[in-house]
């Protein structure tokens, strides 16, 4: 049973560029959440997708957007990259539709903005 997978593993971008990160949830899970973890800090909630819609959103600007596909996989898009967007981006999946909110985290994508 594959767990949560994310791609790519590492990414280097230049300020002002745009980036797309991808996440496939654990089998049987229907909900995907995205987090940003800056170095030395705890993860910060970006948003959560369920039934292809953004259900909750944290305190992140509109430059951060997402999408969930019918197969429950998800993308995180960040436009107009800033140096401060450099972080580990974590995807977590859960079976919230069944009432089980426990989240399982993927390995993360390390984004470096230069």
């Amino acid at each position: 049973d594959a767990g949560v997978t994310q791609s790519p593993t590492h990414l280097i971008k230049t300020r002002g560029q745009q980036v797309t990160l991808r996440c496939s949830p654990k089998s049987g899970h229907d909900t995907v959440s995205w987090y940003q973890q800056a170095l030395g800090q705890g993860p910060q909630f970006i948003f959560q997708y369920y039934e292809e819609e953004e259900r909750q959103r944290g305190n992140f600007p509109d430059r951060f957007s997402g999408h969930q596909f019918p197969n429950y996989s998800s993308e995180l898009n960040v436009n107009a990259l800033l140096l401060g967007d450099s972080a580990l981006y974590l995807c977590a999946s859960s079976a919230a539709g069944t009432g089980d909110a426990e989240q399982y985290f993927g390995p993360g994508t390390r984004l470096t903005v230069t």
Binding site: Y35, Q41, G42, F45, Q48, F105
Partner: protein, 108 residues
Amino acid sequence: ELKVEQNPLFLSMQEGKNYTIYCNYSTTSDRLYWYRQDPGKSLESLFVLLSNGAVKQEGRLMASLDTKARLSTLHITAAVHDLSATYFCAVESYDMRFGAGTRLTVKP
């Protein structure tokens, strides 16, 4: 706004010793999670605490939840080097709010 505070933020302990990490949160919630993170790695789920008075144990780690005091503890018994990692508590409210983490180093 939900705030989650962990202390201590840094903890250096000798092997064989006991210690407790504390997690305080500011608003009502009945779901609290503990995670472990090794350097450069993702988060590993340790415990899910769903009700007041919940206590869970796994090996040398034991977690408890007091929803009335808005406090969870992670107790380490007879620490070993393999427990060296960063430990996060997270509280579920509107979203999942994480503490800043406790960086634990266990020395021989």
